[in-house]
């Protein structure tokens, strides 16, 4: 994720950032300009349409449908943003959860139980790193910190890594109770935190694995394509050569909305708009080590 100051208008307007949709759409925008120029040339120089040609009324169609396309794109932006924000909430919940479990274990474990303290101090942040890498389909063994009796040759990267760490945490918590270090009620008091790790992991997987329904995706792309392709016929009639910058602007707006939605819909990658899961995982490690 890029850190930025949302109030700095000037840079936003004139600098073309690496992640800016202008840059990504540039080849398409050029193509649209050429296409519009061709249509304008055909209409004015080749077909020499008269002023009362019915071609000018084609715009009627586009204003009827302009409404539908705007609402569809708003719906698309909304649902993509909701996923992005849900992803952010989940990682926020992971932070809270890790802190709460660390705070509780700090209060519950005897001062002298160095081994258990080290276990939780290393394993809680390991979960965050495991989840981050799992969501990016990568395995970075070097990010794990061993400790508290768990060696990382125990982890099997072919299987679900976060689940294995969750299993370690769960087993340790229940075995502390069986050994009498924790009472039954104390075990119950850390129950929500233990459960929450896997819930967060599952919810992130859900967001990552489920783009919006196939039919919407197809329909929206076809709709934008035909809308933009037929638009210059009506506009060139009214605007003449001005149709070229006009089409560039319209295409930039419509395609940007779809493009941004596609990007933020899966917020766990390494794009400019993705969530800073790397930094959050680091923060979790730092805070947990401060506490325990």
């Amino acid at each position: 994720m890029i850190d930025y100051n949302p109030k700095d208008w000037f840079t936003f307007i004139f600098r073309i950032h690496k992640a800016d949709t202008v840059r990504k759409l540039m080849p398409m925008i050029v193509a649209i300009c050429l296409y519009s120029a061709l249509v304008a040339w055909l209409e004015t120089a080749v077909w020499k349409l008269s002023d009362d040609s019915r071609v000018k009324n084609i715009s009627l169609l586009h204003s009827l449908l302009g409404f539908v396309i705007s609402l569809l794109l708003a719906f698309r932006s909304n649902s993509a943003y909701d996923r992005w924000w849900e992803g952010r909430k989940l990682w926020g919940a992971l932070v809270n959860n890790s802190r709460n479990l660390a705070l509780r274990m700090n209060a519950l474990l005897p001062e002298g139980d160095r081994d258990s303290r080290e276990f939780f101090r290393t394993m809680i942040p390991n979960y965050a790193f495991a989840l981050k890498n799992h969501l990016r389909d990568q395995a970075k063994a070097e990010e794990f910190v061993a400790g508290g009796g768990v060696e990382f040759n125990h982890l099997d990267t072919a299987r679900h890594v976060p689940n294995q760490i969750a299993a370690h945490l769960m087993r340790r918590a229940y075995s502390l109770q069986k050994q009498g270090v924790l009472t039954g009620e104390q075990l119950l008091s850390i129950n929500p935190e233990l459960q929450s790790f896997t819930d967060i992991c599952g919810a992130c997987e859900r967001i990552r694995n489920t783009p919006i329904p196939f039919s919407y995706s197809v329909f929206l792309k076809k709709f934008i394509f035909f809308y933009v392709m037929t638009l210059p016929f009506g506009l060139a009639f009214s605007l003449g050569w001005f149709v070229i910058p006009a089409m560039a602007f319209i295409f930039y707006v419509l395609a940007s909305m779809e493009l941004i939605a596609e990007e933020i819909e899966n917020p766990f990658g390494i794009d400019a708009n993705d969530l800073p899961t790397e930094r959050i995982s680091g923060n979790i490690r730092r805070h947990v080590e401060e506490i325990l």
Copy 2:
């Protein structure tokens, strides 16, 4: 569900996929084209309307109502998508729930209690398969795995199958406590998972059994129908023969939105847009077997 790459515009625009609404609407689109041609022929060749005929103002009506129809279709898409996404969340919760219960039983059950371990290893995934089939109104006894003392001749497919499996799980958990394998607090710590199975099942049934209110469905279809049927009268006047592709495009857009909403509103079937409940059930079995 179809796996697809949402960024691959080219294929989306030019390939007509089996689940594409273009394919499903094709006969209707052809009919609309013929109808529009008829109207255009009547207006230009038969009735020979003069340029200041009031017929051209019929479009006024359609732009006044264009707004309402767009908002209605947006509302329809939204509510259908919300159901689809709620369905996805429920199956995500089923995954989390199954994993959490497996992780807990793994930590709680004595290493040597092979029978109980086998019971949960088989019954937790069986619940997912039972729910998947129950939501599709089918019974596939071959997908169940027997184990841990439950034979599937015990299951009565005429009765509610997921409930029977939930009853097995519930009974086993309470009987483990009565035998002293689990303490009271340990039982309480698995309580949310035990309860959640039936909650998920009920919520899925709710989505499957409740389409949007009857009156909306009737009203929206009547509205689209009359809107599309009266539209060519105004448009043919302004567009001449261009009315034919224009009507095809407008009809494609409006009808697609209703069609997609109808499809995704019940996400538990086997359509292209439906949720991959089959694959999710398989994943649950795989993960639970890894854990227990």
Copy 3:
């Protein structure tokens, strides 16, 4: 509730169902047609307005406000639908809750405790029937099934019936614990179910007793009325006699949206769009009897 196949367009468009808004609005539509005809006649035959009369610009007003009225009706539809769907969720929760309590009591109660089993087998479904009738302001004593030591001459129909059944359930659960049949932890594990009955009842009462704020209701009706009454003046000028079907169509659309919203806002009655609380209650009885 009417069961219907949402994909059956043909019937929806051409059949006029008993619950169709077309039927309910028919007298009003006829009145609007007569009124529009009167306006058209006045404008063309009596006042003989010239082509550049300012009357034609009245439509400006209606297109400025067309937007506001559409958004208001969309807001109205949305909030009414949200209540309907919340009502559906509550009854879904009642199903889940009843099933979960039955599953738990089945696992917890000793096989031989026939009296307690019969108590829960009869009282859990009785709650659903009591709630259904309570929400319809009716008392149907014949729908209750006595059993497990509760006679229905104990129920006082002048007082809040669902509360009395909830009191029976609550009392029995706590007395089972006092007798030592349930342990403290087992009692806690059925706590969410015991609490949920009353929560669901209260939420249903809230939906039934609270229509949208009075001022919105008044404002929206006044707005629709004046909008529709002034519309023909502008339209008749542009459309001539075509104003009659146009006004019928516009009125049908606007009034239907308000009418449907009014109907589904309170989903617990016996209208065509209301929730099938009767059937759901029956299902609860069937499923609980299967389980216990």
Copy 4:
């Protein structure tokens, strides 16, 4: 709150109710009419604008911005309604909570413990009355019912009254456990209810104390004002004297939406649209007395 039948259109349209926005806006509407008449007179009689004056194009501005103002008012209505509905949910939750606590105490307390029963029978409804008055910044000592060992000279109306009653409830519950009347698990089973009183109180205070952000309120009022003030210049040109009723209608619609939003945003007062907290408190007393 006014009880009304939402299906009674006739009365709504022709009766001008005390709470109707028409009545409240009447002076402003008259002023707008005079202002529009002045503008129309200036344009037609004084300035004698020709037909191709650029003044007629001022309407362009208003149709460009008509969209934004409509969406803003829709956003305003939505957020105000959400608060109103959240307030209603909170009072619904208070009803449920009071009932549940009463049902539980009825089952838990020994039949003979008259003092404790009286305590809960009086204090649970007292909380509702205290909250109602607290939200209206009033203190009505006469609405409290003393009982169960609490005298109301103990209440200090200068301090937070609902908190004091919650403190009584909390203290009594824990002291019943300390005395051995309730077991630890029974205490836990009433824990959600005890906590919920204060949560509801805090959420109501939040709604009452936080209107929408200051900047929105200023911006929206300025926007409506300038929009309405400039509108007649364009409209008078096209509509002549018809501009007077047109402006009255447009102003009525826009201002009503803002006015209703202002009214329902804080739903705990005694306006026509406010929630019937008086009646709800009474119902809580009646139901709790039926139960305990």
Copy 5:
């Protein structure tokens, strides 16, 4: 936060408050006026465009896109408001939580345990102050009140201050249980409150650290800029010199919506629209001291 009476229209319209967007936008509005004047001068005096110049049709573009920009700004307002309101809810939850914990500790702690009572009386409000300052990236040691055995030289302002206070609270609660002052069940009954502090802190940090996705911010600013820059070309043709106030008004509306969204998106600062976290923290201290 500014306290204001939302019904006082007059002041809102004519007074230009310090936080009013009019004031902040004034330099830009002046610039836009000059730019529009330049365009109008060019079109009328320099280029002397004829009446059928295609330049007048440029407005077509702006009405096509006016829709998209309005919906985008509505989406932006909505999501910014949602964050603001979520922030308000979180601080409301902190109030409830602090009150509930104080009420419970008051009921649970022996009357004579002055030290523990003082501990909670000081530390619960300290958490609110710590969180307020943490969210503003400041450390105000003077706002803390020492007591109950915690000196503030123990707090390390370089580390996460709210976490340190939460650690104190957690440790004290568990140590009270270990000492036998609280039973296991009593500990469980305060468990939700203990957990909630850190959850609220994490959620506030999430809101503060995550503005809307970078791409939306860039796109929206670019879109507004080009929209406003190209608009005078079409408008100056139709409106002549009237284009100057028209552009000022349009720019004021569009830019205000973006500006307000930017301001309320992070509600924890000290701007006019920010939440009154200072006052809320003070209220928490006052209420907790009343209770304990």
